[in-house]
């Protein structure tokens, strides 16, 4: 049965990082559209949340000193960030599915650079977050939202959404690699939910009372939400209101993406 032909030449072809990342991002985007049960809520929930909060808490804008006179302006950025976060965490979900079915082994078997296994899904999350942000803004405009600082102001919302999606992706991937089952999904959702709500999500800091104000002041996500709201509030956009959010995004994303990268390496330990 054995043929005596010479051994095949050693394959030394390196997989370009960019090609692998694009390939994985594309797959992630295509797959999400094929799972309507996961896709529809991820788009509809942030839209619903923006509108429902704006409607149900309509009266808070009457509190003296409230930074906007449109409740949708106040709640739209929050809904957007929730959507962006779940775009990131959704990457964690689909990775859990890949790990559970074993398909992730097939991806790990390829010589694609390990960093591309993080940046590919990250790119997909950023695209999803941008899509969700755009949809929420369009629906928000219909429901009365009015950007107060033009397109530049809205840009800050995209930046904040991208940041939340990035840190959500790192967190989601890292937990998926550590737990490799749906336990990870529960942890990612719960932690994200807590962190995003223990902020000035519902009312400005100066209106709050007691413990929440304390927690919200030290919670870096408060800075991110402030960044997201810049283009929708009456106050002028100042550097003071920007840098805290930017630092929070960069620092937390760096942390969670490093966590993801390390946890990926640890997959081969067990």
């Amino acid at each position: 049965m054995r043929t005596d032909q010479a051994a095949r030449p050693i394959n030394t072809r390196r997989t370009p990082h960019s090609a692998a990342a694009v390939g994985l991002a594309k797959r992630s985007i295509v797959n999400i559209t094929r799972l309507p049960s996961a896709f529809l809520p991820s788009v509809l929930m942030p839209v619903f949340q923006s509108i429902a909060f704006a409607g149900t808490f309509f009266a808070i804008i009457q509190i003296p000193g409230f930074p906007t006179d449109r409740s949708i302006n106040w709640f739209l950025p929050l809904g957007t960030l929730m959507g962006a976060g779940f775009a990131g965490i959704g990457i964690g979900f689909s990775t859990i599915r890949d790990l559970e079915t074993g398909f992730y082994d097939r991806i790990r078997l390829t010589p694609a650079p390990r960093s591309a296994l993080i940046t590919g899904p990250l790119a997909a999350a950023l695209i999803r977050a941008a899509l969700v942000t755009t949809i929420v803004i369009i629906v928000g405009l219909i429901f009365g939202a009015r950007p107060t600082h033009g397109p530049t102001g809205v840009l800050f919302l995209y930046v904040a959404a991208a940041g939340i999606a990035a840190l959500g992706t790192g967190w989601g991937l890292g937990l998926a690699f550590r737990f490799r089952d749906m336990r990870a999904a529960a942890i990612m959702q719960l932690t994200f939910f807590l962190l995003i709500f223990l902020t000035d999500a519902q009312t400005p800091l100066f209106i709050m009372d007691g413990w929440l104000e304390l927690v919200a002041r030290i919670n870096p996500f408060t800075n991110v939400i402030r960044l997201a709201r810049l283009g929708f509030l009456d106050a002028p956009i100042t550097w003071n209101n920007i840098w805290g959010g930017l630092i929070a995004i960069v620092a937390i994303s760096a942390l969670t993406l490093t966590f993801a990268r390390r946890s990926l390496a640890r997959l081969s330990d067990s």
């Binding site: 049965m1 054995r2 394959n11 072809r13 390196r14 694009v22 295509v30 094929r34 082994d105």
Partner: protein, 320 residues
């Protein structure tokens, strides 16, 4: 040939799970030397350590101890080079059900760094090779078990690897699908691909592998060519069918050639001490005694016997 040039080498490969009192020695010192162009069968029951060994050799799992080289590269320090040169079809053919066959092949081509211009052609070739051209545009979720295995094989061939790992490639397949997969494996081997195949089917190892290793409780208990291993078990069994009336005389004559063995109803069985060459003598003796031989069958020891002798038990569902 120097060891580094061998496609697969393992030296004292170990993998333990857990720690302390709960430590499980899934693989406990496996040595392998697989020759270029060989089909090597890795045989053992579920949980014996086959898959764990394959996961280590294919860089999915870091070994606890020992060394491994695949395609000339260290499986730990040169994992990337190993990955570039091996193809792997894992147990259960775990493929994303949401994607189509063509999409999966193209993604695979991207991840293996194939030039973009080749993607389309390569995907088409491989689909044709495994007979899935018509199903290429369908989502994998709609595929049958056999189709999934064939696609999985095609995925592992995208970069024309010189070493192929197949982890239980036919488990759960119907006989027809199994045979067609066997043919494909032989074809790949004829093209010069070295194949390491794990299986819990004795027949599969016997059919395909030039050499086999039997693993049990994380340790290799037998290694060699199937024929040699069978020969080690001992003599072949000769089954003779004669008229009822001559049974007694025939039994006496047969006993001279070796110990009597259990046999199907109506026939007599004897283990030939001197091997197959003794058959003509048996026939002559019976003929000289005036006994008419109705039927004669010589059966070699099977891998089942080898396995049973090596491990002390028989694989479930093994062919006798």
């Amino acid at each position: 040939m120097s060891e580094t040039a061998l496609p697969i080498v393992a030296e004292g490969l170990q993998r333990y799970f857990g720690s302390g009192d709960n430590i499980v020695k899934a693989v406990d010192g496996v040595d392998l030397q697989i020759q270029p162009g060989e089909i090597f069968g890795f045989l053992g029951p579920n949980g014996a350590g086959k898959s764990t060994t394959v996961r280590m050799l294919t860089t999915l799992l870091r070994p606890t101890g020992g060394k491994g080289r695949v395609a000339g590269f260290d499986i730990v320090s040169e994992a990337d080079s190993v990955r570039r040169n091996i193809g792997v079809a894992l147990q259960d053919a775990a493929i994303d059900p949401l994607m189509t066959g063509t999409e999966l092949l193209r993604l695979q081509a991207v991840l293996y760094g194939l030039p973009k211009a080749q993607h389309h052609q390569r995907a088409g070739e491989l689909l044709e090779r495994v007979g899935l051209t018509a199903a290429g545009g369908r989502r994998v979720g709609t595929y049958s078990g056999g189709m999934r295995r064939r696609l999985d094989l095609a995925l592992s061939l995208i970069h024309e690897p010189s070493v192929l790992f197949l982890d239980e490639p036919t488990t759960g397949l119907d006989p027809m699908s199994r045979i067609s997969l066997w043919e494909e494996i032989r074809r790949l081997n004829n093209d010069g691909t070295t194949v390491l195949l794990t299986t819990q089917y004795l027949e599969e190892a016997d059919q395909l592998a030039e050499r086999i290793a039997i693993i049990d409780h994380g340790v290799i208990v037998r290694k060699g060519r199937p024929t040699e291993l069978k020969a080690e078990v001992g003599s072949p069994t000769l089954f003779v069918t004669v008229d009822e009336s001559t049974h007694q005389i025939a039994t006496g004559l047969l006993a001279k050639f070796g110990e009597l063995r259990p046999s199907p109803e109506g026939s007599l069985g004897v283990g030939l001490h001197e091997g197959p060459s003794a058959v003509s003598n048996v026939v002559r003796e019976l003929d000289d005694a005036g006994i008419t031989v109705r039927n004669l069958e010589l059966r070699e020891p099977s891998l089942d016997d080898v396995f049973a002798e090596a491990t002390g038990y028989r694989l479930e569902g093994a062919e006798s």
